[in-house]
Structures are given as structure tokens and as C-alpha cells.
């Protein structure tokens, strides 16, 4: 008898994974226009940073592996609006945006990507190891899934501190295939740790799309298996992200347990490097990338603000130009800074010295 198989993959995210949907201006409601203009500026800062870093990589000036978040800017910007410097945020390999959204220093970021002594990790870390403790960015590390339990542990520490702080971990759909996600969700629930799990579901892990890796494209199902509060929203809508973050972060601060925020998005560039990876992904096509670019989180917010009268086209152009100039100034500053002194090779291996 011929064996029967279940269909390998089913999508339960509906329109959220249809690039033709969710292209309209975001609904800004009665949110503060001033705050939204700040969000727009921050998203532009991230995009200009990523574009310029990509160019530096194409030119061979940046060697450290870069993982660009172009197209995903709304997620950290919407979330960070509800975070405090006393919280602890952990990022992964694709974390320039996470760092910048918390207000992380642009000069320090660019210098680190260029591996200069003036970088946030003094050139020891490179693109994938960023830190800004004063802003609440506790560190980024690229081992897939590694940030998840670190966020839980930070949340446990902040719970012990008793000041209402939350521990946040960013990770992607690929990290949900690591066993540590299961352990971490379970542990956070059992310890009632104020952890916020931010699953950036961009539908790709390296070269494989999610349909080739998981039986279902909805990541919040993992949270539900652990009896955890979860929300799945359009990650290219800064207002939708902010609203969901406000709810989950508020509950965690109040001692009402951890939360899982799934945000659906798409990266315009490849897994690593400046190109679009349409030759690497087995099913990633130029058509698909072009379709997702129409769900641009920046254009959707800008057009909403222009329609509202809070911004005009000229003002939008000025904003873009300002952010580009800031990035270029940071690049110029880093180019003028030195590389780490070889005599310091063994510094910081041990805090106390060997």
C-alpha cells in the first residue's frame, strides 16, 4: 500500500505573508505626531546606516560579516518606544537596527563595523558584537538562538531587582528551530521572569525559506505550547508593533509574566552581505523581493504622516538627507580612527589578569 503523508507545510499567517497586502499607509490614529516623526527619523537612520554599510562592504572597506536589516526597521523602533535604559536587550547577528533603535551611538556602531579602536567594542567584536549598556543594549551575539536564554536570565535578574525591568531577546524564525527556545520559554514561564521574546519572522533562515524548515509558518504557536501570552502582528507597521509591545511589556513589568511578540517582516538584502541573495535562496526570487519592497515600513509611515499633514514631501527629503549626512560623518570619523594596537591583543581575556 502506498504510504500517505501530511502536506509538508501549511501557512496560517494569511495575508501577513502575502506581500500584496498591508501596503497602505499605517494607521497612526491619535498617536503623538512628534513621537512618530522621531520614529520615522530613527527608521531612516537605520536604513541609511545599512545602505552605507552595504556599500562599504561592496567596496571591500568593511570585511566583518554584515547582516543588514533593511526592510525590518519598524520592529525595533516600535518596540523600543516601550523600553527603558534600565531594561536589558539582547540582539543577534542582525542587530545594527536593534542597537540604533535604542538610541545607540552611531559613531560607535560604524567604528565597530569598521573594526576601529573607537568602536563600541574597541574593534574586538565587529558587526555582530554590539553593546551600549547605558541605553539598555546588553549585547549582541550571532550564535543562532543564543540570545533567547540570555534574555530570560536578564529578566530573572531584573525580577530580583524588583524595579519592573524587562529582559528582551531578539531572534528570528531560524532560531525557533533550536531546542533552546523550548527550554527558555518553559523556564521563563516557570520562573515568571519578565522576559519579552521578539521573534522577527522574515520567512528566511539563511538560504532556506520557512516552508522548507517548519510545518507551519506561525511562530507564536511555540509560545502557546508554553501557555505564554503571544501576539502576531505586521512587522512593517511601526504602530502595530508598538501597540503589541506596549501590551506585552506592560504585562511583564507588572509581574504578569513573559510575552512573545511575533512580527512578520522580510529582509530586502541577503542573509549576509549587501546583495539580495536571489541566487542563494532556493525559492527566493527577484519578483518576491520586489513585491515585499512595496510593503516598505518607512514609506508606509511617511505617507501616513504626509496625508495627516504632520510632514510634507520637502520635510521628508530633508529628514532623509539629514540621516544620510549623519551616517557619512560617522564613516568619515571611523576612517580617521586607528585600528586596535597589537600590543593589546590579550587585554580583557581575564578581568583580573591571568
Amino acid at each position: 500500500m502506498k504510504p500517505t503523508f501530511h502536506k509538508l507545510h501549511r501557512s496560517t499567517l494569511g495575508d501577513l505573508v502575502e506581500p500584496g497586502a498591508y501596503r497602505d499607509p499605517v494607521r497612526i490614529g491619535n498617536r503623538s505626531r512628534e513621537a512618530l516623526l522621531e520614529d520615522l527619523a530613527c527608521m531612516l537612520r537605520i536604513r541609511k546606516t545599512e545602505e552605507q554599510v552595504g556599500t562599504l562592504a561592496e567596496q571591500g572597506i568593511v570585511k566583518t560579516p554584515i547582516h543588514l536589516a533593511i526592510g525590518q526597521e519598524a520592529i525595533p523602533v516600535g518596540l523600543s518606544r516601550h523600553l527603558r535604559p534600565s531594561d536589558a536587550v539582547f540582539g543577534g547577528h542582525r542587530s545594527h537596527a536593534h542597537y540604533l533603535a535604542l538610541g545607540g551611538d552611531l559613531d560607535g556602531l560604524i567604528a565597530e563595523i569598521m573594526c576601529r579602536e573607537t568602536g563600541v567594542a574597541s574593534g574586538r567584536g565587529g558587526s555582530m558584537h554590539l553593546i551600549d549598556r547605558a541605553r539598555g543594549f546588553a549585547g549582541s551575539v550571532p550564535l543562532v538562538g543564543a540570545t533567547i536564554p540570555l534574555g530570560v536570565g536578564a529578566a530573572l535578574a531584573l525580577k530580583m531587582d524588583g524595579q519592573g525591568g524587562v529582559g528582551v531577546c531578539y531572534f528570528g524564525d531560524g532560531a525557533c528551530e533550536e531546542g533552546v527556545l523550548h527550554e527558555s520559554l518553559n523556564l521563563a514561564r516557570v520562573l515568571n521572569a519578565p522576559a519579552i521574546f521578539v521573534a522577527e519572522n522574515n520567512l528566511y533562515s539563511s538560504h532556506l525559506d520557512i516552508a522548507q524548515r517548519q510545518p507551519n509558518d506561525r511562530l507564536a504557536r511555540f509560545a502557546e505550547a508554553h501557555d505564554m501570552r503571544a501576539r502576531t502582528v505586521d512587522g512593517n507597521d511601526v504602530c502595530a508593533v508598538a501597540a503589541a509591545a506596549e501590551e506585552l511589556v506592560g504585562a511583564a513589568r507588572a509581574g504578569d509574566g513573559p510575552g512573545f511578540l511575533e512580527v512578520i517582516t522580510y529582509r530586502w538584502r541577503g542573509h549576509v552581505g549587501p546583495d539580495a541573495n536571489i541566487d542563494v535562496g532556493l525559492r527566493r526570487s527577484a519578483t518576491e523581493v520586489a513585491a515585499w519592497k512595496k510593503r516598505d515600513p518607512i514609506a508606509r509611515l511617511a505617507s501616513a504622516l504626509i496625508a495627516d499633514g504632520a510632514l510634507d514631501e520637502a520635510g521628508y527629503d530633508v529628514l532623509k538627507q539629514q540621516e544620510l549626512e549623519r551616517v557619512n560623518a560617522a564613516i568619515a570619523a571611523a576612517e580617521g580612527a586607528g585600528f586596535p594596537d597589537p600590543a593589546t591583543l590579550l587585554d580583557h581575556v581575564y578581568s583580573e589578569g591571568a
Binding site: 574597541s122 549585547g139 540570555l150 536570565g153 533552546v180 516557570v190 583580573e352 591571568a354
Partner: protein, 330 residues
């Protein structure tokens, strides 16, 4: 045992007690902490004295628990993670090696991950290959991770205290075969830095140098008693901290005795015994060697269960004494 003595297990327990009573940053987390049979007498009633919020028994999640402790350490706490068997600790090794050991370096000292991981060696008794391992050499390979192996009751207490107070991540490895050892109780000195914790001479002697760490120091001491009866005086070096390792004391000893036996409770290839030999060979002048150095280690096999195989698998004091005789008499 007199009133001013304590066992090795009691030394560990007093280390925890001192830390939790004196430093609010310290908490301990791992499997079996509310049950006496996981960790022997080494943590008895700590949960009752300091509360279940600071002595946390966990789900069966070595990886998640160890990494969460790293996260808490980054936030300023001093967690001590308990792995009641090193074999199971393999499941929680990624955050030790990839995160904690590198955290200070990655961020050029702007952040540290001062976690203490307690890995317990628990072997013998026909427990078999996955309930027996001593994997200290693996971990001692990693720059940034301090690895401590107490051999005595006071070191069992003090290395736990100093390790937990250290700003560096620490792997503290204790051995259930030492839990009944007794030693004289000294005053706790919490101000000792691990950068100053080097090897110690446990016995003086001019004929041969025996070097070990943890349980193998006990083997060396027993072998030295046998040899003393034959007129052979062995000098014993207890390494105490095997990463970073300080070869100076052992090299000085070998320069005097001209003979070296390295003893390790694990395998030989790329292991601690090889490191001991390399450290001595690099430092002791060729003219000072009276015999080629030797290693006493486990047989190159997983641990067997049957007692007949265990008897030949694990090194013993007679074997150490025999190796010493061969070096001396040729």
C-alpha cells in the same frame, strides 16, 4: 573528626553558606537543589536557610538554565549553576564556552559574565559511561574561562568563594570521591583574587615530582606514603587552577627531582596530563631530567560499568607508586 575539622563536602556547603550570607548578588540554580541525593551533603538545607528564590531547583534544561545564569551574571548577579554530573553539563556547554568565556573580551571589558558553574565528577559504582566523566581538560582549553579543581576541604570551600567573587567566569569542579576527605578549618579570607591562586606543594620530597589536580592529588598522597616506606620521597604539586595554568611550581620541583609523573583522572590525549608534561619539558633544562616523564590517566575508553573493568580502568595509588619506582630504578 575533631571540632576544628570539616569534610570536603562540608567545605563546599560552607562555601555556599558564606557566599549567600555575605553577598546578596549570589544565588544558585540547577537541577536537584531541593533534593539531597543530587549533590550529596554539599548543599544540605541551603534552600531552607536562604529561601527557594535564591536556591532555585529547575526544569530539566541544562542549556537554558546555564545560559539564563549567564544572562543574570551580565546583569550584575553572581549565579552559581549546579550540574550534578559533568556528563549532563555537556548539554549546557554552549553558553559557558561561546558566551561567558568570551563576554569580557568581545566587548573589550565593557561587560563581564562572572558566572560560576559547578560541575560535579560523580563516577565509579558501576554507573557506566554517561555517569562518570571528568571533562575538565575540554574546558581548560578555552581562554577566558577559569577552571578550578579543589583537592582539599579548605580549597573546596575557598575556591568556591573566590571563584564566585571573581569578575571572571569560573568552572568549579568538585569530585564525589573526595567528599569524605577531612581537613582543618581555617578562617575565610574573601579578598583573595584568582589571579593569585596558584599551585601548592602538598608534600615535599627530593626523589620524584607527582603533579595532579582534584582527586589525583589524593592518589599522589597515598602513593607517596607507599613510596616513603621504601625510602623514596615524592614531592606533590596540586595545580588547583588548571586554566589559566601556572607551570612554575611544578617546573621548579622537577628541576630539583629530575623526575615527573603527571596524574589525571581523565584521558591522556590532548588532556591535562599532556599539558603538565609540556609545561615541564618547556621549562626544565634537558640536563636536569633523570628519566623521561610519565603519565597516569584513565584507559582510553569510555567508563565501563562492571566492577571487574572499573578496577583496571581507574588509576590507583599502587599504579602511581609503581610508575614512580620505574622512573627511579629504570
Amino acid at each position: 573528626m575533631s571540632a576544628d575539622e570539616m569534610t570536603y563536602a562540608e567545605g563546599i556547603r560552607r562555601g555556599f553558606e558564606w557566599l549567600m550570607a555575605n553577598d546578596p548578588r549570589v544565588f544558585t540554580i540547577g537541577q536537584g537543589l531541593w533534593s539531597p541525593w543530587y549533590v550529596g551533603a554539599s548543599m544540605t538545607d541551603l534552600d531552607k536557610k536562604f529561601g527557594k528564590e535564591r536556591v532555585i531547583d529547575t526544569p530539566v534544561s541544562e542549556l537554558g538554565t546555564t545560559a539564563a545564569a549567564v544572562g543574570a551574571a551580565i546583569m550584575g548577579y553572581r549565579p552559581i549553576v549546579i550540574h550534578p554530573r559533568m556528563d549532563f553539563m555537556v548539554l549546557g556547554t554552549d553558553p559557558i564556552i561561546n558566551q561567558a568565556a568570551k563576554w569580557s573580551y568581545l566587548f573589550a571589558g565593557r561587560s563581564t559574565a562572572p558566572i560560576t558553574v559547578r560541575g560535579i565528577i560523580n563516577r565509579g559504582g558501576e554507573q557506566g559511561a554517561q555517569h562518570s566523566q571528568s571533562l575538565h581538560s575540554w574546558y581548560a582549553h578555552i581562554p577566558g574561562l577559569r577552571v578550578l579543581m579543589p583537592a582539599t576541604a579548605d580549597d573546596a570551600r575557598d575556591l568556591l568563594i573566590w571563584g564566585t567573587l571573581s569578575d571572571d567566569p569560573v568552572l568549579y569542579i568538585d569530585d564525589r570521591w573526595l567528599y569524605e576527605q577531612t581537613g582543618v578549618v581555617s578562617e575565610v579570607d574573601p579578598d583573595v583574587k584568582l589571579s593569585d591562586v596558584g599551585p601548592k606543594l602538598r608534600r615535599e620530597g627530593g626523589d620524584i615530582t607527582l603533579v595532579g589536580a582534584g582527586w589525583t592529588v589524593k592518589l599522589a598522597l597515598e602513593a607517596a606514603e607507599i613510596l616513603a616506606g621504601e625510602g623514596i620521597e615524592a614531592e606533590i604539586v596540586d595545580l588547583r587552577q588548571i586554566n589559566p595554568i601556572d607551570h612554575t611550581l611544578a617546573a621548579q620541583s622537577v628541576s630539583r627531582t629530575g623526575r615527573l609523573v603527571a596524574i589525571d583522572g581523565s584521558w591522556s590525549n590532548c588532556g591535562l596530563s599532556a599539558e603538565i608534561l609540556a609545561g615541564a619539558v618547556e621549562r626544565v633544562a634537558p640536563a636536569n631530567w633523570k628519566a623521561a616523564p610519565r603519565r597516569i590517566t584513565l584507559a582510553e575508553a569510555p567508563a565501563p560499568a562492571a566492577r571487574s573493568l572499573e578496577a583496571v580502568y581507574y588509576p590507583d595509588a599502587d599504579g602511581v607508586a609503581e610508575a614512580a619506582r620505574e622512573l627511579i630504578h629504570g
